[in-house]
C-alpha cells in the first residue's frame, strides 16, 4: 500500500466533497437548521398540550342504578387530603388541576359522541354486573371496580367478586382530553375506594391507620450518574449508528456509484493506483466526513441542551470521565470504519447513484437490529454477542456507561469490529475488480429480451415486495391478524399467488420453474432419515442461537400460542402448519426463488441465500436462524434431487413432527448434547444417501 497515493486520492475526494454545495447543504446545514426547529416545535406543542389539559374542565356524566354511590365516591376522592393513601404518581401531581364538572343528561352516550362531555360513568349494582357477559364484566382498562390500578396489565387484574357493584367508564380514545380525563377519573375513584377500605378496616377494629401497616420504603443505591448512564448507554450506540449511517451515506453513495455513473471510476482504475489504495482512500474520506458530521450533530444537540432548548429529565447526571470517553471513542471509531466499509461495498455493488440509494434503505433498517442489542434485557458482554459486530459495541457501551469496564471483553469487541471493518474494505476492493460492476453503461441483453431471460434480474425485487406486503399486512390489517386468516393469506396469496404471478408474467415453464421432476426412489430413504434428525439438529442450532440472542421465556410462550393456538382443532393445525406451508413455501422458495437465482450464484452461495431469505420471511428475530437452517437443508435437497417434492415432504413432515411434539409436551430443547451429536451423524448419513442417489438441479452455475 502506497500511502502517498492514498493521500492524493483522499485529498481529491475531500476537495470534491467540499465543492459539492448540495452535499454540504443536505449533510450539514440542513440538520443544523432542522433539528432546532423540530425540537422547538415539539417543545411548543408539548407545552401547549400540557397547558390545554391543565386548563380543561373535564365534563362528565353519571348514569346507572348506582349513580348516587358513584357521585359519593367521586366527592370522597376529591376531598381526600393529598399524600394520604396516594400512589407515587398521584403525589407527583396527577390530580393537580384536575377540575371536573358533572353534566346531567339522560343520554350520556350521545353527549360523549357529540363531544359535549369528555367521558361518562355508569354505576351498576352487583346483580346488574353479574348479568353482564363475561367480557364486559371483567375489569379492564375502561372499567373500574374500585379495586384495581389502571396501569396494571389485564392478566394482573384480580377477577371481580360476584355480587359487588361495578363502575364502567366510557371515553373516546381518539380524543386526547377524553383519554386523559377518564384516566385521571379512574385514579380518583381508586383513591376513594382505597380510603373507603381503610375507613372500613378501622371501623372493624383495626387499631391503626392501615396505610401505616407494613409500609414499604425503597432506596436506590445506584448513583444518579449510573441511572442516567443505564438509560443513555442503551441507546447511545443506536443514536451514533443513525448519525454515522446518515452522514456516511452522503459521501459513500457518491464515492463509487456516483463515479461509475459519471464514468470517472474507469479513469481512476486505469491509473497506477492499486484497487486497495483507491478503496482505502475512499474509506478514509467517508470515515472522516462521517465522524466530522457526527461530531457537529452531537455538538449541535449539546448546544440545544446548553441553551435550554432541549430539557433533560430531572436528576440526569451524565458523568464522562476520560477513561469512558477514550473507551467509547475506541469502540465507535472501528464501528464508524465498519459502517463506512459496508456503505462503500453497497456503493461499489450498485451501478448507479439511484441504485445505491435504493440499497441504502434496507441496509439502514437492518443496521438497527444489532445496534439495539443493548436494549434487550439479559444480554451481557461476556457471551457470544461479543462476536457479533455492532451488537457487541451496543452491549459494551451499555456496560461502560454504568461504569463497568470488562477490559478483556472490550479488547475483544475492538478486535472484532476492526477485523469486520478490514474484511469489508477488502470486499469493497474485490468488488472493484468485478467487471460487471465497474462500468454502468453496459447494456444488459436481458432487458431487451424480457420474459424468462429477464426473470433472474427481477427475482430478488419480487421477494422484496413480497416481504414488504407480508409485514405491512400483518401490522396493519386486523382482519388478517387471526391464525387462520394470516396463514391462508401468507401461504395462498403471498407465496403461492406471487409464485404463480411470476410464472405468468415472465412466461416461465412451470415444470422447470417449480422443479416438478420425478425423484430417484433411493432419495426418499435420505428424506426419511433427514426429517427427525434434522429437527433435532435444528433444535441444537436454536439452542446455540439462544446463546447469542437469548429469548425471554414469556416471548417464546406468547409466540407459541400465536403460531399454535389452543382453540384450533388438530386437523386444522395439521393443515395450516404442515400441509399448506409445505406446498406453498416450497413452491415459492425451492421453486421460483431457486430457479431465478440458479445462475446468479454458485451452489454454496445459492443454498445459503435461499435458506437465509426463507429464514427472513419467518418474521421473529430469534426464529430466523433455525428457519434459515431448515431452508438450507431443504434447498440442498432440491439441488441434490433436482426436484421440489422431497423438500415438500420433508417440510410437511418436519412441521407435523414439531406439532406433534408440542402437543404431546415433549421438548427437544431439553435433550443432552449426545442426542444432538447422534442426530448430526444420522443427518450426515441422510445427506450421503441423497448425494449418492443425486439427480442434480439442471442449469446451475459452476
Amino acid at each position: 500500500m502506497n500511502w502517498r497515493i492514498v493521500g492524493v486520492i483522499f485529498r481529491n475526494e475531500i476537495r470534491m466533497l467540499l465543492r459539492d454545495r448540495r452535499t454540504i447543504a443536505v449533510g450539514v446545514l440542513l440538520p443544523l437548521l432542522i433539528y432546532p426547529l423540530m425540537i422547538y416545535a415539539n417543545r411548543v406543542t408539548t407545552r401547549q398540550r400540557e397547558k390545554n389539559l391543565t386548563e380543561t374542565v373535564y365534563k362528565y356524566a353519571v348514569s346507572g342504578s348506582q349513580a348516587e354511590q358513584v357521585r359519593g365516591l367521586i366527592a370522597r376522592g376529591q376531598a381526600a387530603p393529598p399524600g394520604k393513601n396516594a400512589s407515587k404518581s398521584e403525589e407527583e401531581g396527577n390530580f393537580q388541576g384536575f377540575r371536573i364538572q358533572e353534566v346531567t343528561t339522560q343520554d350520556p352516550a350521545a353527549l360523549l359522541a357529540s363531544g359535549d362531555i369528555h367521558f361518562y360513568l355508569k354505576g351498576l349494582s352487583g346483580k346488574e354486573a353479574d348479568a353482564l357477559p363475561v367480557e364486559a364484566a371483567k375489569p379492564k382498562k375502561e372499567q373500574e371496580t374500585g379495586s384495581s390500578k389502571p396501569k396494571a396489565t389485564p392478566e394482573a387484574v384480580p377477577a371481580r367478586v360476584a355480587g359487588v357493584p361495578l363502575i364502567q367508564i366510557y371515553f373516546q380514545g381518539d380524543r386526547d382530553a377524553s383519554q386523559v380525563g377518564s384516566s385521571k377519573m379512574r385514579d380518583l375513584l381508586a383513591r376513594a375506594r382505597s380510603l373507603d377500605r381503610d375507613v372500613l378496616l378501622q371501623q372493624k377494629g383495626l387499631p391503626v391507620d392501615p396505610a401505616l401497616v407494613m409500609p414499604s420504603d425503597e432506596t436506590d443505591v445506584a448513583r444518579a450518574a449510573q441511572v442516567t448512564g443505564s438509560y443513555v448507554g442503551r441507546f447511545l450506540t443506536f443514536l451514533m449508528l443513525m448519525f454515522l449511517m446518515s452522514s456516511s451515506s452522503i459521501v459513500a453513495i457518491d464515492s463509487i456509484a456516483g463515479e461509475k455513473e459519471r464514468g470517472s471510476l474507469e479513469t481512476l482504475l486505469t491509473t497506477a493506483a492499486k484497487r486497495m489504495e483507491i478503496v482505502a482512500a475512499k474509506q478514509l474520506s467517508i470515515v472522516s466526513v462521517a465522524l466530522v458530521i457526527t461530531f457537529i450533530q452531537i455538538a449541535n444537540l449539546l448546544a440545544y441542551v446548553d441553551f435550554k432548548l432541549v430539557a433533560l429529565p430531572k436528576d440526569w447526571v451524565i458523568e464522562l470521565p476520560p477513561v469512558t470517553v477514550v473507551t467509547l471513542l475506541l469502540l465507535f471509531t472501528p464501528m464508524a470504519a465498519f459502517v463506512a466499509s459496508i456503505l462503500l461495498m453497497l456503493s461499489a455493488y450498485a451501478k448507479t447513484y439511484k441504485e445505491a440509494q435504493l440499497y441504502f434503505f434496507p441496509v439502514n433498517l437492518l443496521s438497527w437490529v444489532p445496534a439495539l442489542a443493548g436494549v434487550l434485557p439479559g444480554i451481557a458482554l461476556r457471551s457470544a454477542i461479543v462476536l457479533v459486530p455492532v451488537a457487541n459495541v451496543s452491549v459494551a457501551v451499555r456496560e461502560i456507561m454504568v461504569g463497568k469496564f470488562d477490559w478483556p471483553m472490550l479488547a475483544a469487541v475492538f478486535a472484532v469490529m476492526t477485523l469486520a471493518a478490514a474484511w469489508a474494505v477488502r470486499a469493497s476492493a474485490k468488488l472493484l475488480s468485478k467487471e460487471s460492476l465497474i462500468t454502468a453503461s453496459e447494456a444488459d441483453a436481458a432487458d431487451f429480451a424480457g420474459g424468462p431471460v429477464l426473470f433472474p434480474k427481477h427475482v430478488l425485487r419480487w421477494y422484496g415486495v413480497m416481504a414488504a406486503v407480508l409485514f405491512a399486512v400483518a401490522l396493519n390489517v386486523p382482519h388478517l391478524a387471526t391464525f387462520r386468516a394470516q396463514v391462508l393469506f401468507n401461504e395462498l396469496v403471498i407465496f403461492l399467488g406471487a409464485s404463480a404471478l411470476m410464472v405468468w408474467k415472465y412466461r416461465l415453464n412451470v415444470r422447470e420453474a417449480w422443479a416438478l421432476r420425478p425423484v430417484n426412489p433411493l432419495a426418499w430413504l435420505g428424506v426419511l432419515l433427514a426429517v427427525p434428525s434434522g429437527l433435532i439438529v435444528a433444535t441444537g442450532v436454536f439452542r446455540l442461537a439462544d446463546l447469542i440472542f437469548p429469548v425471554p421465556q414469556r416471548v417464546l410462550e406468547q409466540f407459541g400460542n400465536e403460531i399454535m393456538p389452543k382453540d384450533v382443532p388438530h386437523w386444522q393445525l395439521f393443515l395450516f402448519i404442515a400441509v399448506l406451508p409445505a406446498i406453498c413455501e416450497e413452491i415459492a422458495f425451492r421453486g421460483t426463488l431457486l430457479y431465478g437465482l440458479r445462475r446468479k450464484l454458485r451452489p454454496v452461495g445459492l443454498v445459503l441465500t435461499v435458506g437465509i431469505i426463507f429464514g427472513l420471511f419467518h418474521v421473529a428475530l430469534f426464529r430466523i436462524l433455525p428457519t434459515a437452517f431448515l431452508g438450507v437443508i431443504l434447498t440442498t435437497m432440491a439441488l441434490l434431487t433436482g426436484s421440489i417434492f422431497p423438500g415438500m415432504v420433508a417440510h410437511a413432515a418436519n412441521n407435523a413432527l414439531s406439532l406433534w411434539l408440542a402437543d404431546s409436551g415433549f421438548s427437544l430443547g431439553n435433550l443432552s448434547w449426545i442426542w444432538y451429536l447422534s442426530a448430526t451423524a444420522v443427518f450426515a448419513l441422510a445427506f450421503y444417501i441423497l448425494y449418492r442417489s443425486r439427480n442434480p438441479y439442471p442449469g446451475l452455475r459452476r
Binding site: N2, I5, V8, I9, N12, R15, M16, R19, D20, R262, G263, S264, E266, T267, L268, L269, T270, T271, A272, A273, K274, S433, E435, S436, I438, T439, S441, D444, A445, A446, A449, V453, L454, P456, K457, R599, K600, R701
Partner: protein, 246 residues
C-alpha cells in the same frame, strides 16, 4: 521485444441471463515501438474488452499479454504506470479545475519528475491556459477533450491506448484528435488505437488488426491487406473478412 505482445488472450463474461459469453476468443498480436496499431471492428467485436484487459481494468480468462515487458496479470500496477488510457467512457471529475485534474493524474500515476513543471508544460502544450482554473463541468466538449488528453499523458507514458477516441466528437474535434495522435507517434510513443470508423483507421494506422466476434481475422498494414484481399478501400477489405467469416 515489442512494447505490446498479446498471446491467446481471451475473455469470457458470465451473464446471468445468457450464461457464458465469449467476448474475446484467443487473440494474438503485437505492437511495434513507435507505431500506431489499429484494432478495427464493429460494435461488440471485442475491441474495448481487449483494451480494457491490456490496461488491467479487466482480468483475462485465458492467454497472456505483456506491456513493455510487464505481465498484465502478475504486474498490473507496473503495466498501468507505463500506459495512458483514453476512451470516450473515461470521464473527468466535474468538480475539479482543469489544472487540478492534470495535477491529480500526474501525482497518482507517480510521475518521477517535477509535478508542477509537468503540469505547466501540459497546460501550455494543449492550449488549456485560458481555462486552467475553470471547473471541468463548466467546460465545452472540445475543452474537456483537451484536458482528457493531457491527463492521459500526464505521467509521460511510453504507450498510449485510445479506445474509440473520436466517438461523440464533431468533425473538427475529431480531426484535432487525429492530429494529436499523429503527433504522439512523432514523439516516439507507441499507440494502440481502436475504432469502427474505416477512414480514421485508414488515415492513422501503420498496421491494422480486423477483429470480429472476439477473433482477429487479419493483421497487416494497409498495403498488405489490399494485396491479400484484392480490395482497394478499407471498408471493402473489412467486409471481405467479416462476410468471409460469416
Amino acid at each position: 521485444m515489442d512494447p505490446v505482445e498479446v498471446r491467446g488472450l481471451a475473455k469470457t463474461f458470465y451473464d446471468e441471463a445468457r450464461g457464458e459469453v465469449p467476448a474475446v476468443q484467443g487473440i494474438d498480436f503485437e505492437c511495434h515501438a513507435g507505431e500506431i496499431f489499429g484494432l478495427l471492428g464493429a460494435n461488440g467485436a471485442g475491441k474495448t474488452t481487449t483494451l480494457r484487459m491490456l490496461s488491467t481494468i479487466l482480468t483475462p480468462t485465458g492467454g497472456s499479454a505483456t506491456i513493455l515487458g510487464h505481465d498484465i496479470a502478475s504486474e498490473p500496477t507496473e503495466v498501468r504506470k507505463c500506459l495512458g488510457f483514453y476512451s470516450a467512457s473515461t470521464a473527468l471529475y466535474p468538480r475539479l479545475t482543469a489544472r487540478e485534474t492534470i495535477e491529480f493524474f500526474t501525482r497518482i500515476n507517480q510521475y518521477s519528475g517535477d509535478v508542477k513543471q509537468r503540469v505547466d508544460y501540459l497546460i501550455e502544450r494543449f492550449g488549456i491556459s485560458k481555462y486552467a482554473s475553470a471547473r471541468i463541468d463548466k467546460l465545452s466538449t472540445g475543452m474537456k477533450q483537451k484536458v482528457s488528453i493531457a491527463r492521459t499523458v500526464a505521467h509521460d507514458p511510453p504507450l498510449l491506448i485510445f479506445d474509440e477516441p473520436t466517438v461523440g466528437l464533431d468533425v473538427l474535434n475529431a480531426l484535432d484528435m487525429q492530429d494529436v495522435i499523429r503527433e504522439f507517434r512523432a514523439h516516439g510513443k507507441t499507440i494502440l488505437f481502436s475504432t469502427h470508423i474505416m477512414s480514421e483507421a485508414e488515415k492513422l494506422c501503420d498496421r491494422i488488426a480486423i477483429i470480429h466476434a472476439g477473433r482477429i481475422l487479419a493483421c497487416n498494414n494497409l498495403e498488405g491487406l489490399r494485396a491479400v484481399t484484392g480490395e482497394r478501400y478499407l471498408e471493402d477489405i473489412f467486409v471481405h473478412y467479416v462476410r468471409g467469416q460469416g
